[in-house]
């Protein structure tokens, strides 16, 4: 890439079912904007480009992201854009804007009040509207089909899946923003009932509300804003077929393709957006992550998955590991769509290229 761009700031709201927060996102965004501005020594007038990610269907009304602009303040007018995707893709748009030179400092934010309705049914409306959605295959059931295929193909066992969940919950004990955490063994989890066979509650991300914000800056500004910027060494995304019957649900070519396009290479730490336990196993393989990689030290999406913010939070957490010196090279991943249809990879490094 022609220019260096780095993550210089990250904040996220604790993932909770928020009775006090509306679908506009404002109540969740205002505190984390203040937090990230304070950490970077910035004010909103320093931001050259804003980009957000959220969903009208999650909020239950058209143009819902417009209300979130109240968290910025609409005056004076700002250069601003919005994707109807996880905000990891908003960060991608912001990154492109900084690469063009039109902005030196850009901010991406995402928010989702996932608890506003029955999430798994809402997400059924992402499927083919003529042939599939009318049957209401909810998102948990679609993921269960994928998990079942993997079990029958001998790719993993229910115990493997429970071990992912147990490890994630143990990791989340040190993450105060996590919604779920604790010490539990795989054997204890396997004794619990199915939600959608072969998935149990621990195999599925909890439904929670939250928001996340990431600030990026050009090389000219990054070092003055952050002692150890997390340089974006690669950033790419791809999509797979929207037809569940037309793709191999046990392969994630868009994740592998995004990692290759981002020049992922070896990393020490990876934050994967895997809303279901077996999807972490699929993603580890697609992204070529070996045993030595620390996967989801935050607990991952299985311990907190605010829709449309969780992918951006993965990148923010990976960047935080680099900014704090805990890792020299880290990977943040985001997914969107049913059964890992769309995937994004952002590689962060302590060294500018």
């Amino acid at each position: 890439m022609s220019a260096d761009v780095a993550v210089v700031g990250f904040a996220q709201s604790p993932v909770r079912v928020r009775e006090d927060a509306t679908t506009s996102g404002v109540e969740m965004l205002v505190p984390i904007f203040a937090e990230v501005f304070r950490a970077c020594g910035l004010t909103k007038s320093d931001i050259g480009f804003w980009c957000s990610g959220s969903s009208d269907y999650l909020a239950g009304r058209a143009f819902s992201f417009v209300s979130a602009v109240d968290a910025i303040g609409a005056v004076p007018p700002a250069m601003e854009s919005h994707v109807e995707m996880d905000a990891a893709w908003a960060l991608y748009e912001a990154w492109a804007k900084v690469l063009t030179g039109e902005a030196e400092i850009a901010l991406a934010y995402g928010f989702g009040k996932s608890s506003g309705a029955e999430l798994r049914r809402v997400l059924a409306l992402q499927l083919d509207p003529y042939l599939v959605a009318p049957l209401w295959p909810d998102s948990v059931s679609v993921a269960a089909l994928q998990a079942r295929l993997g079990l029958e193909a001998g790719r993993w066992t229910e115990k493997d899946m429970a071990e992912v969940a147990a490890r994630s919950r143990a990791e989340a004990r040190s993450n105060p923003d996590a919604q779920v955490s604790g010490s539990v063994t795989a054997a204890e989890l396997l004794a619990r009932p199915y939600v959608a066979e072969p998935l149990r509650a621990h195999d599925c991300a909890p439904v929670g509300d939250g928001a996340a914000v990431v600030i990026i800056a050009s090389a000219a500004r990054a070092r003055e804003l952050c002692e150890r910027p997390a340089w974006i060494s690669g950033f790419a995304h791809q999509v797979d077929s929207g037809s569940l019957g037309a793709r191999d649900l046990l392969a994630v070519p868009s994740a592998a393709g995004a990692a290759a396009a981002a020049g992922a290479g070896p990393v020490e730490l990876a934050e994967l957006h895997a809303p279901f336990s077996h999807q972490e196993l699929l993603l580890r393989e697609a992204l070529g992550l070996g045993e030595g990689v620390a996967v989801n030290p935050s607990g991952g999406a299985l311990c907190g998955n605010p829709m449309f913010a969780a992918g951006l939070a993965r990148i923010g957490l990976a960047a935080r590991a680099v900014m704090s010196g805990r890792a020299s090279r880290a990977l943040g991943h985001a997914t969107s769509g049913p059964a890992l249809q769309q995937n994004l990879v952002c590689v962060l490094s302590g060294e500018a290229s």
Partner: protein
């Protein structure tokens, strides 16, 4: 730093109140095929796709670009979905242009659509934001008070709005893809 970007081709479907002969995917593919043909390209030559659409409630499909990935030749490529409310068509072009200007891609397909006949646009626009009184009257319910205030403040004579509409209809008749074909209309 900024790479130059240019428009290579354009494609438009014939705008009309109902296109019951095609699905959402069929409608979008029609525009995409025309755009790549006018550029002398095939869909396989496209590096990335940017879909603009606002709001999802117009068709009743959540994030329809996921279902459209196959029809737009986006499988295995980057696919971005822009939603900036009423400005989405223009914003889609801006995002696609940025991807070229940033040096990320060489050829980007920007596609925006609405297929309002699939759902109820009046319902979709009758939104109820938190802490606001819902107007429940579609877009007209929001715009009419603004226009009335403008007329009162400016003293605009009553035929001004009609002049604009006549001008637009006569211009539209020069475009074979325009919904209304009323080249003979007068004030």
């Amino acid at each position: 730093m900024k790479q130059p970007a240019a428009v290579l081709g354009v494609g438009q479907t014939r705008h009309r109140s109902k296109r019951t002969d095609v699905s959402i995917a069929g409608l979008c593919r029609e525009a995409a095929d025309r755009a790549v043909a006018s550029a002398g390209l095939a869909l396989a030559d496209i590096d990335a796709v940017v879909v603009g659409k606002a709001p999802d409630l117009f068709e009743g499909v959540m994030m329809p670009e996921l279902y459209l990935a196959d029809a737009l030749g986006a499988v295995g490529k980057p696919l971005l979905r822009v939603h900036t409310a009423g400005s989405v068509g223009g914003a889609t072009g801006i995002v696609a242009t940025s991807l070229v200007q940033a040096g990320l891609h060489r050829r980007v397909l920007a596609l925006a659509f609405e297929k309002q006949s699939e759902s109820n646009a009046m319902w979709a626009l009758s939104i109820a934001p938190p802490f606001s009184i819902p107007v429940v009257a579609g877009a007209g319910g929001y715009f009419a008070p603004h226009i009335r205030a403008y007329i009162r403040r400016s003293g605009a004579p009553p035929h001004i709005g009609a002049l604009v509409a006549v001008k637009d209809r006569r211009n539209g008749a020069l475009n074979p893809y325009a919904h209304l074909q009323q080249g003979d209309i007068t004030l």
